[in-house]
Symmetry: C2
Subunit: 336 residues, 2 copies
């Protein structure tokens, strides 16, 4: 690997050897439902509480990705991952079951791409052959932690997004396969000085725009380079602002833009307000639908810009604004 | 860099170009007080609340490490760091002030060494020249978040540790300097099935032992290899158990062991119960006293095993036990 431009990396030999997705009930019923590997009909996933449900989803995703790749834990050199729970609790507890070293990372919903960047870095630098990434979110663990007790039934504004229930896992490998991780751009903190924790899409849009602009400059390319530029998850209002910001700096072609939070649900019918959000959202969309489209040749090259609103309830209660970050990776269809 | 053995890395060209430490009042009055760069007499550090105080400590540490190295942010290729606050809030807010990409990592008190490992990976793999790491903890932000409101004045058992108020920053660089980062061993989750959140030292001891044993096996060395094997932070009770565990697996020489939580305070006189803890503890001890001893030749090679109890109050309330992790790095005096 080598550094390109200001904040970017060009990888040499990093592949997505296998991916897996485990989806909650609302996600399974959405427009991408058929692309997921595992579907749950209820958000408890047969467990006693929501935390245990999210742990189970992570473990199912890991077990499945190993099975798909024909590997077992002896072949795994490290695991990288995280979730939205304080202290990355779900990932910490899920990974008790696996005998491999683990690096916990956090960038809110951008944890998905941060995990892939750290894993790709390990692989391309010569640390072993296979690194597992794991990320997830769960609507009910997030609601309780970041907002109000679910039982309270608090009303929500239209700008609110709905946290996805889902987990996804990858095997990042030096062994050639049909999808290559070719590039990354590391995000920096961008704070648009908004403080509405019920409007995260607009809070994250400037961070997504900053990362996209840096990516295009670093590699000296235009948005034509990619068949899809997927943000995750800006939602309806955030996506509008994102497009306006990038138009303002001269990026005119945006018909290849889409947002994971808008793709995962039928936002007219599924009661998700402005769209989906959470680590699990961009994870589910990328590791199922997008990967499939790359495999069968609908897409040849895509850019995933996962966006994280770094919201902490204590800081918001102290009248702070909400900083955001967006880490990007580019995937390419490869002919082994 | 290359992978060694099961979970370890040998770095080629990674140096600690500069380090800085900012200490709270109790830490400044402790036995290592004279080694810190900045001392605060009160834990508010002139700010309105404890979160802002911890943010200020991080920013002072970063500004100082840049100054010591004669660098400015244009020379910095990335920042890696974290803290104990939910969502890494302190680091997220502190880094708003710096124009560089940022990877947030979390491993509780082991965040210090995880940051150094991720930064060393970036540097040794060819991503730029200088990466800043930043880690901190603050007694009062931690007490409120993990335990009880400070005003409540809850009584504590002797097994309790006291969270350190302090921050430290490093410049990890490919430019040769007097201290080299030579090795790392990535930790895995170890859960000794304890659930007492007021006895973290004993919870973390098996994780520290697991990482030490793996490190020695991976590099085919004994504890004689190092002038100091520093754990951080097992405290009095945790250190006892740690020594017993490693004795049981045949590691007999332990007179070169010490624990950051026992070194930072006078535990007889300073009311810290079983010793210090928190990201800031192993950070302050390593980046001041240990670095100084390497620079002046008291030590030639040291191993830092930072240990994290991955305690989440919700999981403990649900009757879960507390998993732990320990990431290690080895530092060597180098003659540029």
């Amino acid at each position: 690997m080598r550094k390109i431009g200001k904040n970017s990396i060009e990888f040499e030999n990093v592949f997505l050897r296998a991916t897996s997705t485990v989806a909650g009930p609302k996600e399974s019923k959405g427009p991408l439902g058929k692309y997921f590997d595992v579907h749950f009909n209820d958000s408890h996933c047969g467990q006693e509480n929501w935390e245990q449900a999210e742990i189970k989803m992570q473990q199912m995703a890991i077990d499945l990705v190993l099975e798909k790749a024909g590997l077992n834990m002896k072949n795994i050199d490290a695991m990288v991952g995280g979730d939205l729970n304080n202290q990355l609790a779900i990932t910490n507890y899920a990974l008790r079951a696996y005998d491999a070293p683990y690096l916990g990372v956090f960038a809110a919903c951008s944890t998905c791409t941060e995990s892939l960047i750290v894993a790709s870095n390990l692989i391309d630098a010569g640390y072993g052959e296979n690194v597992v990434t794991i990320t997830s979110s769960h609507n009910s663990t997030s609601e309780r932690q970041f907002r109000y007790p679910t039982e309270y039934g608090g009303q929500k504004p239209n700008s609110m997004t709905s946290t996805t229930t889902g987990a996804g896992s990858c095997i990042v490998s030096r062994v050639p396969s049909s999808i290559k991780i070719i590039r990354a751009t590391l995000g920096k903190i961008v704070d648009p000085e908004l403080s509405d924790s019920q409007d995260m899409g607009r809070t994250m849009a400037p961070a997504a725009a900053s990362t996209l602009v840096t990516h295009l400059q670093d590699f000296n390319i235009t948005t034509d380079e990619y068949d899809l530029i997927l943000t995750g998850d800006l939602s309806k209002y955030g996506s509008d602002i994102f497009e306006k910001i990038v138009n303002n700096v001269g990026i005119m072609r945006t018909d290849n833009f889409n947002d994971a939070g808008l793709m995962l649900y039928d936002i007219e019918k599924q009661h998700v307000f402005a769209g989906g959000s959470g680590c699990g959202c961009v994870t589910l969309v990328t590791l199922s639908y997008v990967i499939n489209a790359l495999r069968i040749g609908i897409y040849h090259k895509v850019l995933i810009i996962a966006t994280g609103a770094l919201m902490n309830p204590i800081m918001v209660a102290q009248n702070e604004t909400i900083p955001a970050i967006a880490h990007a990776i580019a995937l390419e269809r490869s002919f082994e």
